[in-house]
């Protein structure tokens, strides 16, 4: 019967919800904005924002899959941008990007080691690192902005790292697609992914089968840090400059994207493409509000409500799908 077939489908593909919502919203926004929302330029902007946020979202989704959380991703994003911009003035941008990503990985290591070695909730550890690195970012820039001078902005490596477009879309999108493919493959098709999902489902059971739970969690934190920092690199590449407050408040949007996309906060169930769809939906909503002249603060209100509603809805949906 069709009803029976739907339930396993919903269970296995938790991202169905967000795609449906996304489709409905796209139609609605296009219809009600008189061409201001649904044009290629605006779309390009939405995709660029989704892309840089999207890398962070992928990293965060990996951490959430293990049953932990990392709310310092916004600070790491900001640090990545700042390190990149500071170094890009002095060395080859590609090297600068690599260093920035490495710094992100180091922050991830910091988080991961503290969480796994001290048996402290990841919420508090990453709350602490959020403050530490945000403060560092502000202190080191002393309120000034770093930027790349115009003459350097034409170079190839600059283009590669989010500085310009390919076929009308910011190159960050290419990176996002690459990251999506690689990490989806790692999650579903490789032993590491199997173990990551197991740790999120039941870390005790995974441990009893010999899985090195601590190492798996640490690897998730490191990847999250690296991806967040690289997202910052690409954002800095696009904007050409950054100040100490970059990345601020992005963590909520990232968490909301994951939850909207069907990633279970308790761990063990994740959909990277769903999370990205969630990021896209949020960026679209934000863009729509701008186009329609609504005060941007409403987005904050909306975001808060959406997050809770999405989490509630996700739970209800999953419970419905679980009933035999």
């Amino acid at each position: 019967m069709a009803r029976l077939a739907v339930k396993p489908l919903v269970r296995r593909h938790s991202e169905i919800g967000i795609f449906l919502i996304g489709a409905i919203l796209v139609v609605y926004f296009s219809a009600t904005s008189g061409g201001y929302w649904a044009n290629l330029y605006n779309f390009g902007t939405i995709m660029q924002q989704t892309s840089t946020m999207g890398l962070m979202v992928i990293g965060l989704a990996l951490v959430i899959t293990t049953g932990e959380i990392d709310i310092s991703v916004g600070s790491t994003f900001g640090i990545g941008a700042l390190v990149y911009l500071w170094l890009a003035l002095r060395v080859d941008p590609v090297l600068a990007a690599l260093c920035a990503t490495a710094v992100g990985a180091a922050i991830g290591t910091f988080n991961g080691v503290l969480v796994t070695r001290t048996n402290t909730p990841s919420l508090i550890i990453t709350l602490g690192s959020l403050m530490i690195f945000r403060g560092l970012a502000i202190a080191l820039t002393s309120g000034f902005a770093f930027s790349i001078p115009y003459k350097q902005r034409g170079a190839f490596s600059y283009w590669l790292l989010g500085g310009d477009t390919l076929l009308g879309f910011n190159t960050a999108l290419i990176w996002l697609v690459v990251a999506l493919i690689i990490f989806s493959a790692m999650l579903r098709l490789m032993p590491w992914g199997n173990r990551l999902l197991a740790v999120g489902g039941s870390s005790d059971s995974a441990l009893s089968r010999g899985v090195r739970v601590d190492r798996i969690k640490l690897s998730a934190f490191i990847l999250c840090g690296a991806l967040s920092a690289f997202g910052g690199v690409l954002e800095a590449g696009k904007l050409g400059s950054a100040d100490g407050s970059m990345g601020r408040l992005m963590e909520l949007q990232a968490i909301a994207s994951c939850v909207l996309g069907g990633t279970l906060l308790a761990g063990g169930r994740v959909s990277l493409i769903g999370a990205l769809a969630g990021a896209f939906v949020l960026s679209s909503i934000q863009s729509y509000l701008v186009v329609m002249g609504v005060a941007p603060q409403w987005f904050m209100v909306l975001l808060g409500v959406i997050v809770v509603a999405a989490a509630l809805g996700d739970r209800s949906l999953q419970q419905w799908a679980l009933r035999k």
Binding site: L189, P191, N194, R195, A198, G201, S202, R212
Partner: protein, 258 residues
């Protein structure tokens, strides 16, 4: 036929959880080729003891020897590497994964493409299905189904099949007949004896002293974190052992001797 050098030796083991004294000066040996019944009431410490052997807890004091070598680090991976397979009660399966993925968790079969390890799904599906169907998994359940959907008996089948597939030197079974039908219970008990005859050490935890007495070479009775009796089944009858348990102040569930 049991060998002479103990495979696993536990000497003066103490384990505290905070201020709770879970294991008290436990000393016991286990040999290859023997089936040892570990019996005792709830809270006696049986599960706690094997969790130490599995590497899940490190002792507060005392020593554990595998093959004569002292164990210095306690981690399940090391226990598995030594050759210990387990069927545990409350842990062992991840609900969000399929049967096949659970079966191979921690030792996934891979095929390498350009040097990168990819899960070999065909091996995972075929082999896990083949093994578990022997243990009662009906055909209407696919190995791609999530474990969450399985009944208690089906989950037990998965755990048992898995232990049989990956058995190495030691198989520890904690209440393996839970949730199983009468016929399935017999199957599991026959299996335990077969494993012993193949030269493995089998540690069988249960409440049912009468049942395990028929299978085991030795019975170890625990109570309140201590070993109170360690006797060969040829030396003491089940009734006598049951008296020991009852004498310790606790009554163990008794099945009719008939």
């Amino acid at each position: 036929m049991a060998s002479s050098q103990p495979l696993i030796q536990v000497k003066n083991l103490d384990l505290y959880f905070g201020s709770f004294h879970a294991l008290k000066n436990v000393s016991v040996d286990f040999r290859a080729g023997e089936l040892v019944g570990l019996v005792g009431d709830n809270g006696a410490g049986k599960t706690t003891l094997i969790r130490v052997l599995c590497g899940l807890h490190a002792p507060t004091s005392g020593e554990v020897y595998f093959d004569g070598a002292r164990v210095t680090t306690f981690h399940p991976k090391l226990a598995i590497d030594f050759g210990i397979e387990t069927i545990q009660q409350s842990v062992g399966l991840c609900d969000n994964l399929s049967i096949a993925r659970n079966f191979y968790l921690g030792r996934e079969p891979v095929k390498r493409i350009l040097g990168i390890p990819f899960l070999d799904f065909r091996v995972m599906r075929d082999m896990s299905a083949k093994v578990i169907r022997q243990f009662g998994l009906r055909d209407n359940v696919s190995v791609d189904d999530e474990v969450e959907r399985l009944s208690g008996g089906e989950r037990q089948s998965v755990k048992i099949g898995r232990a049989v597939e990956f058995k190495n030197r030691v198989v520890i079974m904690d209440e393996p007949t839970n949730h199983l039908s009468v016929r399935e219970r017999e199957h599991v008990n026959e299996l335990a004896v077969q494993l012993k005859e193949q030269g493995l050490l089998v540690i069988y935890i249960t409440h049912d002293i009468f049942q395990v007495h028929k299978l085991a070479d030795r019975i170890v009775i625990m109570e309140n974190g201590e070993v109170v009796k360690d006797a060969r089944t040829t030396e003491m009858s089940a009734e006598a052992l049951e008296e020991v348990i009852r004498h310790g102040g606790r009554v163990v569930e008794k099945r009719s001797a008939k």
